[in-house]
């Protein structure tokens, strides 16, 4: 790699690594609140830093949470109670190890990297359920079961969408995938898979029409109900990390990753392409109410499954034609 710096260190520490994850947490929460506020005829966070349009609001929230009392309920196993959100947040961030943000900017280049990343994303739901279970609360309990069921709804379509793209490219290597898209983006070649991936992303990150595990009027905050203080940041922020990972994965898988640039400019292009996934995920909050869990399951196993199977079929056709 012809970079003047060590690409894998950049990947580990800046983007898509630690700094990227925390930076995304701050910017995404701010952006979400501001965008939704704009739709709703209001300003959103403002006075905390007026010249920056309230960009420091998530920072203030974070500081407040860090410096507020840490309550470890007596009826739980306190060690697990404290460890679960940390592990969850960490596990949500783990798939970035295998995803490249630019040529050379990847921690572990692996021929099956993207496939491993997809599987890692799907594994995390177990930790959410474990977290909810340690909390031992009625609301987290219902929330955990809803989380399992929602996972059951999106898992297969997400896998099928990834499968469609892997069939199309014939590889799961991040470099190979991007190379295969040098003429046409994957989203153009197989729009069905793209749409299926987008909807599965909304489900996986429990974004709005599918914000079912943490439906406020029913189960308070779902799996995060019992957490306060720093642990709440991790429990609640884990979803944003998942969004980050899935957006990164999607931009490599469907939008040609860092193309047409390379090197450091590629990183910025990847960042911009991630917005294609992040912005809709934020704006649906202002547009849709939430489905019931049975409706979400029906969508996942009905329309979405049909769509993703059609996507695989389309990929097969493309492949045979070539």
């Amino acid at each position: 790699m012809d970079l003047p710096f060590s690409g894998d260190l950049i990947a580990a520490l800046v983007f898509p690594g630690v700094l990227g994850i925390f930076g995304f947490l701050v910017v995404a929460i701010w952006l979400e609140r501001k965008l939704v506020a704009r739709v709703q005829w209001r300003y959103g966070p403002l006075y905390v830093s007026k010249p920056l349009g309230g960009l420091l609001q998530p920072v203030a929230d974070l500081l407040k949470l860090v410096f507020s009392e840490l309550v470890l309920p007596r009826h739980t196993n306190r060690l697990f109670f404290a460890a679960a959100p940390i592990l969850l947040f960490f596990a949500e961030g783990l798939p970035v190890v295998f995803i490249a943000a630019a040529p050379g900017v990847v921690m572990a280049p692996h021929p099956y990297g993207l496939a491993i990343a997809v599987v890692l994303v799907l594994l995390v739901a177990v930790l959410v359920v474990a977290m909810a279970w340690t909390e031992a609360d009625k609301f987290t309990y219902v929330g955990a079961v809803r989380e399992i069921l929602l996972t059951a709804a999106y898992e297969v379509p997400l896998l099928l969408a990834a499968l469609a793209m892997f069939i199309l490219y014939g590889t799961a290597d991040p470099y190979g995938v991007v190379e295969a898209q040098s003429n046409l983006w994957g989203a153009v070649l197989n729009p069905l898979a793209f749409v299926a991936y987008l909807v599965a992303l909304l489900m996986a990150t429990t974004r709005f029409p599918f914000e079912i595990p943490e439906a406020e009027p029913e189960v308070v905050l779902g799996p995060y109900t019992e957490y306060g203080s720093t642990l709440f940041i991790y429990a609640f922020g884990a979803n944003y990390v998942k969004l980050y990972v899935l957006a990164l994965l999607g931009s490599v898988l469907f939008l040609g990753g860092w193309l047409p640039a390379g090197g450091l400019a590629g990183v910025f292009i990847t960042l911009v392409k991630m917005l294609v996934f992040v912005l809709p995920a934020m704006l649906v909050r202002a547009i849709y109410p939430r489905y019931r869990i049975d409706q979400a399951l029906r969508i996942g196993w009905g329309k979405l499954l049909a769509l993703s199977v059609a996507a695989v079929a389309l990929s097969l056709v493309w492949r045979l034609l070539r």
Partner: protein
């Protein structure tokens, strides 16, 4: 390999460090009530561990079947020689089988009263 190690150490280190900061600097006034379960602003009421949300669990059985098939296809695609038409035929057949299974049980799964 070093990069992964650095990533894991820095990431986990940052997460744990924030908790440590909370432990050291946040005010602490533990009380018996504070450490009770959250129950909509009242005292804990009734046992927690009860029947699971059983009505939709058929979907989970479906996942175990379908996901294994899809996973198999994924592995096959990634490890097979490029452009093996037999493989693609196999995947197409597999998907058809999946669709048939889902179509067969979709109606049953939707009727939640059968599961209660």
């Amino acid at each position: 390999m070093v990069a992964i190690l650095i990533f894991v150490v820095v990431f986990l280190g940052a997460l744990v460090a924030l908790v440590v900061v909370t432990f050291l600097f946040a005010p602490r006034r533990p009380s018996e009530i504070k450490e009770r379960r959250f129950e909509s602003g009242g005292p804990p009421y009734g046992p927690v561990q009860r029947r699971l949300l059983m009505q939709y669990f058929g979907y989970i059985y479906l996942v175990t079947v379908v996901e294994a098939a899809v996973g198999l296809a994924l592995v096959a695609v990634l490890t097979a020689q490029p452009s093996a038409p037999m493989l693609y035929l196999a995947i197409a057949l597999l998907l058809a089988a999946v669709l048939i299974v889902v179509l067969r049980y979709f109606k049953v799964l939707n009727d939640i009263r059968r599961w209660s």
